[in-house]
Assembly symmetry: C2
Homo-oligomer: 232 residues x 2
């Protein structure tokens, strides 16, 4: 079984997703937020491409959640901070969700055999699922506006490190991700704080979101995309 890493959505056409399991990674913050919401008890997220699509679904009983350039647009019940999804009143709700990077990558992955939602918050659960499933894995980093980013690559490296005894890892992207994770793992949070994305977060006063998203394996859940719905 092979393990590969895609470092940016623009590199996706170089990879064949067919028959493979894709782990979509947008650690800051979409995939961390999805994990948090589903752990809280949200019924499902529905990934849409645009805020207007989310507002259409709002008319059909969905809560509308959106983020553009790290902030919540007007007219939406929810944004993209995991703290908003710790609210128990969201139990059983359906969320129409669109973000700058993460939800786009979920839609790009629809040709895969299976799509999982990965974040540091559910790292161990994802790793265990991949080992049990015995299928080729692609770690798909959302990046920031199609550029490479550190935090998603570090997660790919963390996942690769856990799968290294069960999978063949020959692609340079995965080898680099492992070495970056090894350089960062003793103080993941401060490593991330030097990244370009963290600097954007600092300006917006949401550094606490980074601290939250860097917690490792606090949720034993594996969100999957089933008929377009992200659910457990």
């Amino acid at each position: 079984m092979q393990f590969e890493t895609i470092l940016s959505p623009l590199l996706l056409p170089l990879y064949d997703l067919q028959g493979k399991t894709v782990v979509v990674i947008d650690v800051l913050r979409a995939t961390s937020t999805i994990c948090t919401g589903l752990f809280t008890g949200i019924d499902h997220f529905y990934a849409v491409s645009s805020p207007s699509e989310a507002l259409e679904l709002q008319k059909k009983g969905y809560l509308a959640a959106a983020e553009r350039n790290a902030v919540k647009p007007d007219g939406f019940e929810l944004g993209n901070s995991p703290f908003e999804y710790l609210n128990s009143e969201l139990k059983g709700k359906k969320i129409a969700f669109t973000t700058t990077n993460g939800t786009h990558c979920i839609k790009l992955s629809l040709g895969a055999d299976e799509i999982l939602i990965g974040s540091f918050l559910n790292l161990d659960a994802i790793a265990k699922y991949c080992i049990d499933k015995k299928k080729d894995i692609i770690a798909f980093c959302a990046g920031w506006k199609n550029k490479f980013n550190l935090e998603d690559t570090l997660f790919a490296g963390a996942l690769a490190s856990k799968l290294i005894d069960s999978f063949s890892i020959n692609c340079d992207s995965s080898l680099a991700a492992i070495d970056l994770y090894n350089a960062a793992k003793s103080d993941l949070k401060n490593y991330i704080l030097k990244s370009s994305h963290a600097k954007r977060f600092e300006k917006l006063g949401i550094t606490k979101d980074i601290e939250f998203c860097m917690q490792t394996s606090i949720y034993e859940i594996v969100p999957r995309v089933i008929n377009g719905k992200i659910t457990l």
Copy 2:
């Protein structure tokens, strides 16, 4: 002054080259081979897109050099091994050159203010030139068939490390390249030997090319692209 890194040709559209100096990097082997040839005394290389274009120029007094999938096609005087370019009989010659990755990236960079050819063989000379020039720098990694690769990223990291006091380095690609270089620098050659490209080279019996290309700063030259010609 900014320093940025492009990790694959597919990511090029995300960057604005205008007014900037681009350092094209294809360590294994095109940019190492160009540096070696120009140090030997070749008059210039002319980067072309296809073997047929190189053969056209052959009729006009050029030597034709090509590499596809790491081997030399039939009908060409020269391939892409730096050892072929240590030959003093090449002094004053003109070379029409096409390779799988590197020459393509030179052509993609033509919108930049200036294009330099970087390799470990001329690392210090490139760094000094960039510091003296005082312009924004983009380190452009050729990769392998548009995929990220380790060796070009390591060179970007080595160059960034030398420029860190003179340039502002905020892009995640450059930060990752620096950390990978720090992980690798104590034994660069063996680090590269674990990469996917090195494994391809091993199959072809050209591991000695890797050892050659990993020598650091043996040439005090800065090849530049001037009116389409790569020259000193």
